[in-house]
């Protein structure tokens, strides 16, 4: 490692921000991909991969992705819940790769829930 300056300390902190957003909290949005047996069978893995890919491309650190079990609505899988802090969570259903990318751009980045894919808004919050 080269010798550091005081500015470098701040740069290193920035570079590792996404890891510490996970550990310390303080994220802006959380997306939960429901990965129960039903979700996985319906293609949740591809939805998750698409989402992670979008986040990587957008180079942002304040959106976290997590998984949860079956949401109880197996017929409408893959499901995902998007929670923007201080806004009611929105559940999306019958997702696929393309829909997830659209939701990422419209809802997570621009702040406009994508009504045509939404199942319900303001559902119970996951832990």
């Amino acid at each position: 490692m080269p010798r550091l300056t005081i500015d470098d300390l701040k740069k290193i902190k920035e570079k590792h921000r996404s890891d510490f957003t996970l550990r310390e909290g303080g994220y802006r949005a959380k997306v939960t991909v429901h990965m129960g047996t039903c979700g996985i069978a319906a293609g949740a893995r591809a939805v998750m991969t698409a989402l992670m890919d979008e986040i990587t491309k957008a180079n942002i650190t304040d959106v976290i992705v997590t998984t949860s079990g079956c949401a109880g609505l197996c017929a409408k899988e893959p499901l995902a819940t998007v929670e923007i802090m201080n806004h009611p969570p929105v559940k999306y259903c019958d997702l696929n790769d393309e829909k997830m990318r659209e939701i990422f751009r419209e809802h997570i980045m621009a702040g406009n829930p994508v009504e045509k894919y939404a199942l319900v808004a303001g559902c119970e919050s996951t832990y």
Partner: protein
């Protein structure tokens, strides 16, 4: 795709490594790869998490789920359930001792909930072997501030105003120590760190050195700037190999990055730091002895004055601070003295780390604001006494400390209040004892340690501790004399007032406090030849109460010397000639039918037991 969606913080402190972290790590990495999760889930090895009794422990972020006692066999199901399907795995969660319900989130577990982390701020949150992780948690920002924006006087003032006192044991104000050394004129000064943690049962310094080595280094550079030192040593015991390895790695990384060595951060300030391994003598934790040892001589204390601030290492002005003290410096510099004083009491500001061990449900490292009652630490954080037994005493301050009884459990943990009980805060060892503990035996245990570790330079300590130990041994073997208690008290006070260093000046504390609070136990050992806790073998007779015995045979099976006879469902009997007084039967009996009587007791003990029970009740009443 390089977005990481979860961090698994697996503890790799000494305790968890011993319980199996390396194998768990391998199994986890393999399983994550197998499931195709290895790119999106990151495994981080952290330093000691503090909850050592239940290791290996692992925290999962962002879910904040806490797992304990993780084994290799658990890994496949854990990965599938939690990391793939998002269903936290109940089997490995913390369970409430009484209700057995699982508590998933770390912040809800009582052991963690009541703690306030300042010294241990990075505990379990960073990989101690990567300097970038420390920097990401604002590491070295305080050092940058101290080196560029502050004068030596500014630094001394902030630390003085913060009220920080030395966490090694004596509680001397840190700012004052720095002030003395900064005012002495000398071409060479030394900034030293005391990592010679020697109290039995204490491991907070080891934990800090393992989990957050850079915090100690940063504190030292700031201290060096304050006193004008350009060389320093960290004195660590060689028995802490993992701490030594991580400290050395941290020093190497910091030096390579220009955060140590010459021209730090381009500011023109130089500070060169080295590790020195101590051979583990307890007395080398004493500052003058530590400095002699650093010089390559035999570690023995010398009279003060001159104080080390004037004549320390190689007779140059030196400051020696404890690991935990130094780890607090960076946040004080960043947040100011008022912030530091916002916790704790007027004279004991901030937080203190305790190593909670012994007969409590939750054993581990706890950091709490000073001034909270002992009861909160033992019952709320420690989860109360193990196996539902009764609390008897808590030993504070290791071999230099004392035993505090139930009646003083509301004592706030501050330097002054603890000293008033006869114990000391010391470095922070806190050993909880239940009613199976013999207090004379406890005093003897600590005296064995101090008599062994006395360096032998001054007579009161060298000879005095040996005489104390011999008398205690006699008492526990049934050879005690009526006059012994007064002799112990007199001799103890003499040793305290005439010894050269802190070792001798505190060594009698365990004896004095146990006599102060448990004098009746000494008396029954001496007069009645009766160790009521059933620990001293020569002072017990084990006897089965026929009225309570159900004849279940548990004692009979447990007895190693086949001293118990009896038919099934008939009251059993102990053959006294064969009994070796090991108390195994006493532990095995579920019906409390085995009673502990004085040595050589014969006949019907019911009167004696009633009297003892009444005395016990009376005493309990008095204490409230």
């Amino acid at each position: 795709m390089d977005k990481v969606r979860a961090n698994l913080m697996l503890c790799a402190g000494t305790g968890c490594v011993a319980s199996g972290t390396p194998k768990v790590k391998e199994a986890l990495l393999e399983e994550l790869k197998k499931r195709g999760l290895d790119e999106e889930i990151k495994l981080v090895l952290t330093g000691c998490n503090g909850y050592c009794a239940e290791g290996p422990v692992m925290a999962v972020y962002p879910d904040q789920v806490f797992y304990q006692k993780v084994t290799v066999e658990d890994i496949p199901i854990l990965v599938e359930e939690h990391f793939l399907k998002g269903r936290p795995y109940q089997k490995l969660m913390f369970k409430e001792p009484e209700k057995k319900t699982a508590i998933p989130r770390m912040g809800d577990i009582p052991f963690f909930k009541h703690q306030v982390l300042r010294v241990l701020r990075n505990k379990g949150l960073i990989d101690p072997e990567k300097i970038e992780e420390y920097i990401s948690r604002d590491g070295y920002q305080a050092m940058a501030k101290a080196l560029t924006e502050m004068t030596s006087e500014d630094i001394v003032k902030v630390v003085k105003d913060s009220g920080l006192r030395g966490r090694g044991g004596a509680g001397f104000p840190t700012g004052l120590k720095w002030d003395f050394a900064s005012k002495v004129k000398s071409d060479i000064k030394y900034m030293l760190c005391n990592g010679d943690e020697g109290d039995p049962g204490a491991f907070m310094d080891r934990s800090v050195m393992e989990a957050d080595p850079h915090s100690v280094i940063e504190g030292m550079v700031i201290g060096a700037k304050a006193i004008g030192a350009h060389h320093g040593y960290i004195y660590v015991r060689a028995e802490y190999p993992l701490a030594v390895k991580r400290l050395q790695l941290a020093i190497d990384q910091a030096t390579e990055s220009g955060l140590l060595g010459g021209n730090i951060l381009g500011t023109g300030f130089d500070f060169h730091l080295e590790i020195y391994l101590g051979a583990g003598a307890f007395v080398c934790g004493e500052e003058t002895a530590l400095m002699r040892s650093l010089e390559g001589k035999r570690g023995m204390p010398r009279p003060r004055p001159p104080f080390p601030a004037h004549k320390g290492l190689w007779d140059k002005p030196s400051v020696l601070n404890n690991v935990e003290t130094l780890a607090q410096i960076a946040p004080i510099i960043m947040n100011g003295s008022e912030w530091y004083r916002s916790l704790g009491t007027e004279k004991s500001a901030g937080t203190k780390v305790f190593a909670l061990t012994g007969a409590v449900n939750n054993v581990g490292l706890v950091e709490v604001p000073m001034g909270i009652p002992l009861r909160t630490i033992i019952y709320d954080i420690g989860g109360g006494i193990r196996k539902g037994r009764k609390f008897k005493a808590v030993q504070l301050g290791g071999p230099s400390g004392g035993c505090i009884p139930e009646s003083h459990l509301n004592t706030p943990v501050t330097y002054e209040d603890i000293v008033a009980t006869g114990a000391i805060v010391g470095s922070g060892g806190m050993v909880v004892m239940d009613d199976n503990t013999c207090m004379v035996g406890t005093a003897k245990f600590f005296l064995e340690f101090t008599a062994d570790e006395s360096c032998g330079k001054c007579t009161p300590c060298r000879v005095g501790t040996k005489i104390l130990l011999d008398m205690l041994t006699d008492i526990t073997e049934g050879k005690g004399k009526e006059s012994d208690i007064e002799t112990l008290l007199d001799l103890g006070r003499d040793i305290i007032s005439t010894s050269l260093c802190g070792l001798g000046q505190t060594a009698p504390n365990p004896v004095l406090t146990t006599i102060k609070y448990f004098r009746d136990e000494y008396e029954s050992h001496i007069r009645d030849k009766w160790c009521k806790a059933g620990v001293c073998r020569n002072l017990t007779t084990f006897w089965i109460d026929e009225k309570l015995c159900k004849g279940c045979g548990a004692c009979l099976r447990a007895c190693p010397s086949k001293a118990i006879i009896g038919e099934k469902k008939q009251p059993h009997k102990i053959i006294q000639e064969v009994c070796v007084h090991c108390r195994t039967c006493y532990e095995a009996c579920k019906f409390k039918s085995i009673k502990i009587l004085p040595a050589g007791f014969e006949g019907d003990p019911s009167e004696l037991l009633e009297a003892a029970a009444a005395a016990g009740e009376g005493k309990k009443g008095d204490s409230k």
